[in-house]
């Protein structure tokens, strides 16, 4: 297997890849105003793996969609890859993976991966080569001609990841992609994802419910509070880069998991102090 390293186009020299300044989101509508997000400040540097974790309804998925310009922010600025979020979407700077694989039944696995390339009107040989390379990357090369329903849930998600990487995006947005899988498959997929991340160098923003998963995967864990969603803590994960099965048994791992858990619990109280110090830490990495 050719070991091509696929480097994504990083952010403009030095600057953060994603920058959120005072972002808030209010949903209007007949049910009344719902304040989903409040005063979010976050900076993410190139090559980071940042997890968003929080109780249900804390707005982490909403935040992810704001970064992806799938829904607009009510207030604040969102800069992705040095541009406004909308431009980043139009330039296809990111790839997205949802909780459900969202594969098209009427296409083969390979053609599903080719979808974004077709939309960009890449010529056929290039599309096919790229799709095959991506399938190799997620180790599904021999399933190119299968139909989505013939694959297991974990395999379908890998196809979705392959598709998300097809355009060599600078950023990968992932919304609880492994939420529907069983624990063992999940842990395997975590390893897979880290391997892919290592190969491509893409910046990843990862929404999850699972504390162990967040700690295992990330370079930083962003803890959010319940509605209105605020960042209550940002925790550096200083585990060695080369993570594997043994990492899960390290003492430091358990310490960090406990820290995240405590941050979540105290976040339920939601104090302004916690938010302020979180904001400082969130911005600490910006240039």
């Amino acid at each position: 297997m050719t070991d091509t390293v696929i480097r994504s186009t990083g952010s403009p020299a030095g600057g953060p890849v994603v920058q959120l300044v005072d972002v808030s989101k209010v949903f209007g509508g007949s049910a009344g105003r719902v304040e989903a997000l409040s005063a979010i400040d976050l900076s993410i540097a190139s090559g980071e793996f940042v997890s968003l974790i929080g109780p249900s309804g804390c707005g982490k998925s909403t935040l992810l969609r704001i970064v992806g310009d799938l829904i607009p922010a009510t207030d604040g600025t969102v800069t992705v890859n040095g541009k406004p979020a909308r431009d980043a979407r139009l330039d296809r700077d990111y790839g997205m993976v949802f909780q459900a694989p969202v594969l098209f039944d009427w296409r083969t696995v390979q053609k599903n991966v080719e979808l974004p390339l077709e939309i960009l009107r890449r010529p056929k040989p290039e599309r096919e080569a790229k799709a095959q390379a991506m399938l190799e990357l997620v180790e599904l090369g021999s399933f190119a001609d299968h139909r989505p329903w013939q694959l297991s849930g974990g395999m379908q998600q890998r196809v979705a990841i392959a598709r998300a990487l097809a355009l060599d995006p600078a950023i990968l947005l992932m919304d609880e992609p492994f939420g529907a899988l069983d624990e063992m498959t999940r842990e395997r997929m975590n390893l897979e994802l880290l391997r892919i991340w290592d190969r491509t160098g893409t910046t990843v923003i990862f929404v999850t419910h699972s504390i162990p998963e967040a700690v295992f995967l990330s370079t930083r864990v962003v803890v959010m509070s319940a509605r209105p969603g605020r960042i209550t803590d940002v925790i550096e994960i200083d585990l060695p880069r080369d993570r594997n099965v043994e990492t899960r048994e390290m003492d430091r791992y358990f310490e960090l998991v406990t820290r995240v858990r405590e941050a979540l619990r105290s976040g339920e109280g939601g104090s302004a102090d916690a938010s302020a110090s979180a904001r400082v830490r969130a911005e600490g990495l910006s240039a």
């Binding site: 969202v102 098209f104 939309i119 139909r147 013939q150 297991s152």
Partner: protein, 273 residues
């Protein structure tokens, strides 16, 4: 690594057709049994040919009057096909336009659903007047109107019932409306459209034949059946009905074949089986 993976169908086409035919054995057995019993009952109990001629008598009548039957069948078939083409293409066109514009949907869909429950056949005399009794177009229009509404309704439903996650995905690709239409909505709509197409074959056949009952040239299936029945010549009526049934089944099989061609991925998910 993972379990529960099936390979793409490696069986040859012949093997697949073979197994498909085998599914039909019990049904064919019941059908043949039914025909045999029917004939026996008629012969043994000497039921007057009046009401229910035996299958053999029908076969004889068929043979006797074949030229007239055949002429009537081809005439009616032309009406049916014209009606199908007109109704289905109009239904598709209006369906696509309606799906595109939300305001059109809100008014046209309820109308189409209500209009679909109107006994369109009651309009047959009007069409006869407009186009002329002797003009096959008058019956073709009945068939066309009957097909139009189900096709239109199903086209709209198929184009609009896309899963929201797929639309989000396309939005993340900054894909334009036309792209979304082409790559997501149309493939999603195909199963719906084919359901309507299958229904249309039956509806068009009914529309043409029953339309002919009202008034039509002698050499048409509807008039043939009506006249033969009027003279209590039931073997001939049934012989003609066999032709009518053959048209219905034949067109249906054509649509199913087309469906397999256009949607090879679909499989038998939606069947009753």
């Amino acid at each position: 690594m993972s379990v529960a993976v099936t390979t793409p169908s490696g069986r040859s086409a012949a093997a697949r057709i073979g197994s498909g035919l085998r599914d039909w054995v019990p049904a064919a057995a019941v059908l043949v049994g039914f025909l045999v019993v029917w004939q026996l009952v008629v012969s043994i109990f000497q039921i007057k040919q009046f009401i229910l001629p035996g299958p053999i008598a029908i076969a004889e009548a068929w043979q006797e009057d074949l030229p007239a039957l055949w002429a009537a069948t081809t005439y009616t078939l032309s009406e049916i096909i014209t009606g199908l083409v007109l109704g289905v293409s109009a239904g598709l066109l209006v369906g696509v336009l309606t799906a595109r514009f939300a305001t059109a949907r809100e008014s046209l869909m309820p109308f189409a659903i209500a209009a679909n429950s109107v006994p369109i056949l009651a309009f047959a005399p009007v069409f006869n007047n407009w186009f002329g009794v002797a003009n096959p177009l008058s019956k073709a229009m009945v068939a066309a109107v009957l097909c139009f509404f189900p096709v239109m309704i199903n086209t709209v439903r198929g184009l609009t019932s896309v899963q929201p996650a797929a639309l989000e995905l396309m939005r993340s690709y900054a894909a334009g409306q036309l792209e979304v239409f082409r790559r997501v909505r149309v493939p999603n709509a195909l199963p719906f459209i084919f359901t309507a197409l299958r229904l249309s074959t039956t509806l068009a056949t009914i529309g043409a034949i029953v339309g002919e009952y009202f008034a039509a040239p002698r050499s048409s299936l509807g008039q043939y059946i009506a006249t033969a029945s009027g003279f209590l010549n039931f073997e001939r009526s049934w012989a003609a009905i066999v032709f009518a049934a053959a048209i219905g089944i034949g067109l249906y099989v054509l649509v199913v074949a087309l469906e397999r061609l256009v949607m090879p991925w679909y499989g038998s998910r939606d069947e009753v089986t």
